[in-house]
């Protein structure tokens, strides 16, 4: 909050400190005198006493209220640096986790729930400077960088908030502002015979605001990907190697593999975790448009449903037979947005065959109809062989790249985590106002807390609190001698 710089300086701050994007590892830095209490809440594996410059291994836990639902979030290394011997000069913890932005986001949220807040830009440097860990020249060069970046990042914050979400948060902002205007008018213009809302109405409005905020907060908390994992559905003709691929990806013999077409009749789900991200593969019955077998027919219908609801669809075809009319027919039922084309059994064909297959694909009806180009195919086509285990890694990276391409910049995650932090804070202030109303405290007490809550919401919107209440009072009420 703007009014409280000094208090801010004493708070525990956290942020991702590795370069942006999806990478091998991500480092979350936590700094502040009380950082140990905060980190302990989510890293129960830390020993009684931590030693500076030591590394600890374990699982980050979510801080659910209900112990039975406590779950592990990520497998991490935690580094500890004592006061005076860290980057900022304060007690610092570094959490090295998998470079998965969704997990980083969740760890940040857990840190916020445990009492940290998301650092402002340049705040680590600022603290390092205050504690004489860096000199003026270094500090200023960082400041310069920050200033030059800040315009692009505020655009980013806005882009993230576009559409429905920002409308909803503005709605919350308005509701709080209005309530605040009523409270303030009831104080400063009590002689004016204004139509000020009753206590019952105040409570109703607070409840409305509380509900909206709680909804937003819980949505931030449970990203869909974390909750359910990424779902990948495997599509293709019989016998192209779908089941083989599933077994390779989950490193288990989950599905029966035979040389007989039509082996798989029902959906087979299997889950694996890659770089901390849960991924669910769904093997399906190979689609034969000319099938007469009733069991197989039902299986095929189920396959189509699975493709529709999946996050990604792997379309597998057999390189040794090339693209067949049946392949084309299956393709025509799929959408390009979340589709990968995997040419399997590359061990059976030559380099030249691969090239001609790619050309053939580009001339297919599927391409023409969806107006796809060579750019699309270069990121979506892969030649694999289920006999070659190296393909596994390649495919996973391909999934992760696409899954997180919308969050390429880690600033986006930080913004996301900051929004979570601010909205949670706003929510808790609203809840305390509710209690104050019930306890019949005067408007001046409610107003203080409500204003703090408004400031939080406005920070999410990238606005600054500045006398808007006075403006609102004059808009809402007819006053004056």
């Amino acid at each position: 909050m703007k009014s409280n710089l000094v208090e801010r300086e004493q708070q525990v701050i956290c942020a991702i400190s590795t370069p942006p994007g999806y990478g091998g590892i991500s480092v979350i830095r936590v700094s502040g005198a009380d950082s140990e209490q905060v980190v302990r809440k989510i890293a129960p594996f830390l020993p009684q006493e931590v030693k500076s410059h030591s590394v600890y291994y374990g699982f980050i836990q979510s801080t659910e209220l209900n112990p039975s639902t406590v779950k592990s979030i990520d497998e991490v290394l935690v580094l500890y640096f004592e006061e005076g011997r860290s980057f900022t000069g304060e007690k610092v913890f570094e959490i090295h986790g998998h470079g998965n932005p969704v997990l980083s986001d969740q760890i940040l949220q857990e840190l916020v729930k445990s009492g940290a807040r998301i650092a402002d830009r340049g705040e680590f440097t600022y603290r390092a400077f205050l504690n004489q860990r860096i000199d003026l020249v270094q500090a200023e060069s960082v400041l310069d960088l920050i200033q030059s970046q800040s315009s692009s990042s505020s655009q980013m914050a806005l882009r993230q908030l576009q559409g429905e979400l920002s409308k909803e948060i503005e709605h919350i902002e308005n509701a709080i502002t209005r309530l605040l205007a009523h409270l303030e008018a009831s104080i400063d213009f009590s002689t004016e015979n204004l139509e000020i809302i009753s206590q019952k109405q105040t409570l109703d409005q607070l409840q409305h605001i509380q509900k909206l905020l709680a909804q937003r907060v819980s949505e931030y908390q449970k990203g869909k990907l974390i909750r359910e994992g990424l779902v990948v559905s495997l599509a293709g003709r019989p016998n192209v190697g779908k089941s083989s691929l599933l077994n390779m990806m989950v490193e288990q013999n989950k599905a029966i593999v035979t040389a007989i077409p039509g082996t798989t009749r029902d959906l087979i789900e299997s889950t694996t975790v890659y770089n901390g991200q849960k991924i669910v593969f769904v093997d399906t019955a190979g689609v034969r448009t000319d099938s007469v077998d009733i069991v197989e027919k039902i299986g095929i219908e189920k396959s189509m449903e699975s493709h529709k609801s999946a996050d990604y669809v792997f379309f597998i075809f057999d390189l040794s037979t090339g693209i067949t009319p049946q392949d084309e027919e299956i393709l025509s039922g799929l959408k390009p947005e979340n589709l990968y084309l995997l040419g399997n059994k590359s061990d059976l064909v030559s380099e030249a065959d691969l090239e001609s297959t790619q050309k053939l694909l580009q001339q297919s009806n599927f391409f023409k109809r969806n107006q796809l180009d060579s750019h699309w195919i270069s990121s979506r086509l892969a030649f694999i062989s289920t006999l070659d285990k190296k393909c596994r890694e390649k495919l996973f990276d391909m999934i992760m790249e696409l899954a997180f391409s919308t969050q390429k910049e880690d600033r986006a995650i930080l913004t996301h985590a900051r929004h979570f932090e601010k909205l949670s804070e706003a929510l808790s202030k609203i809840e305390s106002v509710q209690k104050m109303v019930v306890a019949k405290l005067g408007a001046e007490f409610l107003s203080q807390e409500l204003k703090d809550s408004l400031i939080c919401v406005q920070e999410v919107l990238g606005k600054h609190y500045d006398d808007q209440i006075v403006d609102k009072i004059f808009k809402e009420f007819c006053l004056g001698k």
């Binding site: 400190s17 370069p19 060069s141 920050i146």
Partner: protein
Amino acid sequence: MADLSSDSYQVIVVGAGHAGVEACLSSARLGVKTLLITTNLDRIAYMSCNPSIGGLAKGHMVREIDILGGEMGLAADETCIQYKRLNSSKGPAVRGTRVQSDKDKYSAFMTEKVLNQKNLSVIQGEVKRLVLEGSACRGVVLQDGSIIHSNTVVITTGTFMNGVMHIGLEQSPGGRVGDQATVGLSDQLRDFGFTVQRLKTGTPARLLNSSIDWSKTVPQYGDTEFFPFSLRTETFPKLKQIACFLSRTTEQTHDIIRKNLDKSPMFCGVIEGVGPRYCPSIEDKITRFADKESHQTFLEPEGLDSDLIYLQGISTSLPADVQYEFLRTIPGLENVKIVRPGYAVEYDFVEPTQIYHRLETRTISNLFLAGQINGTSGYEEAAAQGFVAGINAAHKVLNRDEFILDRDQAYIGVLIDDLVTKGTKEPYRMFTSRAEHRLVLREDNTLDRLFDISLNLKLSGSALEEKMIKLKDERQNLLSYLRSERIFPNEQTQNKILEMKSAPLLKPATYEEFLRRPEINYTDFVKKFEIPAVADPQIFEPVEIEIKYSGYIKRQLEIIDQQKRLERMNIPESTNYSDIKGLSSEERDKLSRVKPRTLGQAQRISGVNPSAIQSLMIFLKGRKKLKDLPSDNSEDRSSHGQSVETR
């Protein structure tokens, strides 16, 4: 009266409005030879608009002025003809005192004070220009060309500078009805490079008492329990207490006004000055709140012997004949006679970000500005500034430290800090919501907040000082008593507690602890338990409030404490903001214009972000550090060499 034998003074105050009166009194009382020059000696501390003093936040300032040794509170008490404590049923921090004063008696009281004040001379005259020596002010030039020298000058010319009055589409020069506009001063300031702009305000018609049918109005009485503004006031109230009367506008009123909007200078764009939103004209109210069928109005007598009735809520600048027409549609006013029609006045004001907290201008030294000239509106706002400016003008002469009140000490501090930090686009009026530390800036604890400051200032005089010390001791004693005495959970006690509709006691509690219960109040408590404790609200009120809301108050005090750290970090006036890394160009502009004294003030400038404050802090600390700290090289930095600062 005036001692013109010597032509030199230490402080000259220009204007005898509410600002000017406090300014010349505080300066003279500090032992500095002072001259008050005003255009009309018959209108000293004259109330241009409504005949009342105080109200929310304004009443707070009147009490502050009083404890510090100013005059307004005493004058308001002496001339009070109706007393009200606003929000008495609401929270403790937002109770405010408002009195209606006998307008002529108020002016007479102040005139008497001014004329009999030691070290103070008073003359009638119009100041045309300042005597400047380079960028230092050395005195004033009157309309007859005579020059009076002085070390410092305080200008408090109110709505008079290039004042234009509007009644309908007719305009005439004037500061207010019956007073000429003054021309020259603001033009000289503008020529010198000051930003001088226009504001507007308005006032309703004054009606003839005997022409009103009072039976059609509803009388409104004042309170019967009194808390005078001034600690010096012995008997209160002194004058007969009277009622105000309530009436309302009708559909017809609104129709007539709507039909005649083309004759309102506001709506025809004739007035360019910005008016106050909290004080809209009736034309404004009817257009902006079109669905409101009626607006209330209070008919307030301007004094015990006065024939004039002030019509609160119906400020207008429509032509006089239209005013007649619509007023007669208001119940009780069917046959009303207007003594003076309502009007609007437009005037020059000096953008207040051009002055220091001590109210001296940045560009002309020895020149102080106070009151409506700084963009405020209201008697209390004017008096508060005049009081501070008078002290600082005198202190400058006496080579004493500047006198500045902080935002957490007084509403006066909030007022001046807002003005010099944010400037204003409309006439600035004080609201309690402008004070971020509202819970500690209460009317009841004015003495506790300003006790030390007042003793240091030495303006209050020995009689008031004694009273202050006594009251403060009494409060302290009461608190100690409530902390040391206990009630015990025996049957008798529990019964009493039950009768007070509170939960039984589980273990012994001090009186203080027991009073924390929201449903228990001091008066009931001491009565029920037959405790021989003080019954004077002046003593127990602040004590009770601080016990009851101690959690909230403590939290606010903590915030204040933290804020103080920033307030103590001075920014040198010579700071060149283009040297500071990490500021946006908007932030550079604003900081260069306002030139904040401290980091705390910088933070309050709108559009200056927290990151800019960090940059400033680094800049300020860095300047120190470069001088006295060896460069720091640490082993850990290299171990963090890989990580990238992405924040």
